[in-house]
């Protein structure tokens, strides 16, 4: 600040013969905030920096928002895992090869109910993805992108079959139990496409993305999606599918392309089992 600054009031000259005592300057127009030292417009009632900090602190209680988002995502994951654990307990306890068809259907219904309850609790996370309908080209692209994920799954399974791993078939138990392909498509294609996407890309990815960032949230969700299926041989292509679905969610900000991709992937699996065009598993 120079001596010639017009905003600085000058002190009267000292009287001759007396020690020049330092005299206080007159109060000058406010140019800096007394709380944060930041520059501010004197015409504003409050410093914009302090106001911004105060509003941010008031709008968001970090402890409840971040922690509740992560808790909600993990709680949903563990509730869905509980359905799988109960299925495992039944299979192990009864020394069976797999769950009966009626058991699979019941597990699907319980899974769907759990997801619907979470959707009601975390409406904000889910509605944002359901309200937005992307351009039809995105839906077509979503169906197309399921083909390479299906091919990746085929490659993985072929390798595992060559290593001597037992085939896992999805539709044969339904057909042997007397249920037609309608039930097969409903249970294996439609239900997972809707409710798994609502759970993972709807609730979990939105919750984790709000805390971790969109990319980290999508990666974490893809990992949880792959692990939840509790199938080690399926881990590689489930991880790939989860990553693609997470990218679609981020790119389109909608759940519909994810549902289309998931449905198409599972439908191609059922189709391959029926027509034997690809190695069955």
């Amino acid at each position: 600040m120079s001596e010639s600054d017009p905003e600085r009031a000058t002190a009267p000259p000292p009287e001759s013969g007396t020690d020049p005592a330092p005299s206080p300057r007159l109060v000058v127009p406010v140019r800096f905030c007394r709380d944060c030292g930041g520059a501010r417009d004197p015409s504003l009632a409050e410093c914009p920096h302090c106001l911004q900090r105060r509003l941010a602190a008031a709008q968001r209680d970090w402890r409840s928002t971040d922690a509740s988002s992560i808790t909600s995502a993990l709680a949903l994951y563990f509730c869905l895992l509980g359905v799988s654990i109960v299925s495992i307990l039944w299979v192990v306890g009864n020394r069976a090869d797999r769950l009966p068809v009626e058991g699979e259907m019941a597990a699907s219904v319980v899974f769907s109910i759990i997801v619907l309850i979470w959707c009601l609790i975390r409406q904000g996370d889910v509605l944002a993805g359901l309200v937005r309908v992307p351009h039809p080209l995105w839906l077509a692209a979503a169906a197309a992108v399921a083909v390479p994920t299906f091919l990746a799954a085929t490659v993985v399974v072929t390798v595992l079959q060559a290593a001597g791993l037992k085939n896992l078939v999805y539709s044969t138990p339904f057909l042997e139990a007397g249920y037609g392909y309608g039930w097969v498509v409903l249970t294996i294609c439609v239900q997972p496409a809707i409710f798994e996407e609502l759970a993972f890309r709807g609730v979990i990815q939105s919750s984790l993305g709000a805390v971790l960032g969109r990319f980290e949230g999508a990666v974490a969700t893809a990992l949880l999606f792959a692990i939840l299926h509790l199938s080690m041989p399926s881990l590689p292509h489930l991880l790939l599918l989860g990553a693609v679905l997470g990218w679609l969610r981020i790119r389109t900000d909608s759940l519909y392309p994810c549902m289309v991709t998931h449905f198409t992937h599972n439908f191609l699996v059922v189709l391959a089992e029926r027509h034997g065009g690809f190695p069955s598993w």
Partner: protein
């Protein structure tokens, strides 16, 4: 000098009492008696020095969670084969003759945790969250198989044969602490220092 005003030692201007001079923006001596402030456990410091201190402490917790992920990976590699052979030979579990499959599963899990450790070096929070979810999943599966094998007279594992041990609890607690510390550290980094 009236009450609630202060003379700036830098520019000599008289302004309302505060931490900074309203004329030149430089720090002024505090008009209030100062003493060490006791900050509660959940409160975040606003000073740069306080944020540095708390941030370093939180960083230790997140690093501890990252090393926990590494430890789990190492345990899977070293002790996993023993667990696989035990499970394959245990009655009532239904895994007889599947040593090879179990070994591969153990190594895949180890690879996942090694991957999570490397992820935790740059992004500890998401890696800790995923690591906790995966580890609790493994513990729950172990509990399910242990309870089934217990009913068939199989070996007892963990507390009361339920399949969960002290090490499992310690790992889960460390990962949960790492997540809490990561959340707090994230919020600390979002808070701009005021002075």
């Amino acid at each position: 000098m009236g009450n609630g005003t202060i003379t700036c030692p830098h520019c000599g201007a008289v302004s309302a009492a505060g931490a900074f001079c309203e004329s030149c923006g430089k720090a002024v001596p505090s008009t209030f008696a100062t003493s060490p402030r006791i900050v509660s456990g959940d409160a975040l410091p606003y000073s740069a020095a306080g944020q540095k201190l708390v941030g370093d402490e939180l960083r230790k917790h997140t690093n501890r969670a990252a090393y926990t992920l590494l430890a789990v990976g190492i345990l899977q590699v070293t002790c996993g084969p023993i667990v696989a052979v035990t499970l394959a030979n245990a009655p009532g579990v239904g895994l007889e003759g599947m040593v090879g499959v179990l070994l591969v599963a153990q190594f895949v899990v180890a690879a996942v945790f090694f991957g999570l450790y490397f992820w935790a070096r740059t992004a500890p929070l998401p890696a800790s969250i995923v690591g906790l979810a995966i580890y609790v999943t493994l513990v729950l599966i172990n509990m399910a198989t242990s309870l089934s094998s217990l009913s068939e007279g199989g070996p007892r594992r963990g507390f009361g044969g339920c399949g969960i041990g002290l090490l499992d609890i310690i790992i889960i607690v460390l990962l949960a602490q790492g997540i809490q510390a990561g959340l707090k550290h994230k919020r600390l980094m979002e808070t701009p220092p005021s002075m």
